[in-house]
Symmetry: C2
Subunit: 208 residues, 2 copies
Amino acid sequence: MTMTLLSPEHSVVVSRERRARVVVLASGSGSNFAALADAAADGSAPFAVRGLIYNVAGAGVAARASARGIPARLIAHQGFRSREEFDDAVVAALREMEAEWVAMAGWMRIATTRLLEAFAGRILNLHPSLLPSFRGLRAVEQALAAGVKISGCTVHAVVPAVDEGPIVGQAAVPVLEGDDAASLGARIHAAEHLLYPMALARAIAAAG
Amino acid sequence: MTMTLLSPEHSVVVSRERRARVVVLASGSGSNFAALADAAADGSAPFAVRGLIYNVAGAGVAARASARGIPARLIAHQGFRSREEFDDAVVAALREMEAEWVAMAGWMRIATTRLLEAFAGRILNLHPSLLPSFRGLRAVEQALAAGVKISGCTVHAVVPAVDEGPIVGQAAVPVLEGDDAASLGARIHAAEHLLYPMALARAIAAAG
């Protein structure tokens, strides 16, 4: 028995000369940013991480970008009068970075149509449950409260409804006796780090 | 990558002299009845399958019981004026068979409080999804329609609400490209046959 069940992948043919340009949106420690960047850096992925946009000054993800020589841009949401204006600034930065795909990785902002329409079908998000179970905030706590024995994580395309949109990939992990949100969350995070690069590669391949 | 992720089990100490007496309720072909009976027959399980109650004349499960020498009782629901009277007959048969635990395995009847109170906390059911996703009928079709990449099955204690009650065990399987209800259903059934004996053993151990 493995501890993680990944949804199956099809092999992806990678052209080194033409890898999709991905920019990551993150708000936190950046472990999934690092997973994506490191998958891209080994040359086997069909994408390159061209930049990071983060919205929380001092977030750990900034140091991870710096350590990898990946350009990072802080766009603090407090400086904007509306979600729309904030997303306009995000879109402008994504365009400056020549993003083709946008990977949300712990991005704690609700996307508006300004962002969704600018990169329609090319924005992915990661959610720490096996959707459609446990949408919304505190998904790990929701799973523990429901008493499930298996949980996991989901990469899905982003649409206006929160935590909806076509599912690209999922990974399942067991819930163990005595788990709390920290221990189950850590197990789910580890699965996310495996899943997200594979799911992004699949989405890119499917888009042609 | 294995094709099935089972929720983890704790080893169960089995006394050969005192194994819990289980009666199975089934309506269909009986593959899960067979999985439970065969798990019990090899002596490693903490339960013995003492009988089968089925409600559909000619159901395949009857032949499986006969082939294993397990007493089977047909209680056709059409002969009763209410769900309660039907369940009274089921409870009477369960008591004649000296059931301590009741395992629903494709039992296509909604249990009333007559049954639930007679075996409170000792009735398990199997559902072909990773609950809380996809409750109710046609769970496999629901999963396909939702586009999930991982589905599975759940063993849970039965309470008055349909497909609710504490989860005892779950197993996850991938959804593959090109799956239809038949192919995904077969993969989930195979996982059920692994899961149900383990989950029943866990429930018995937890009950002391």
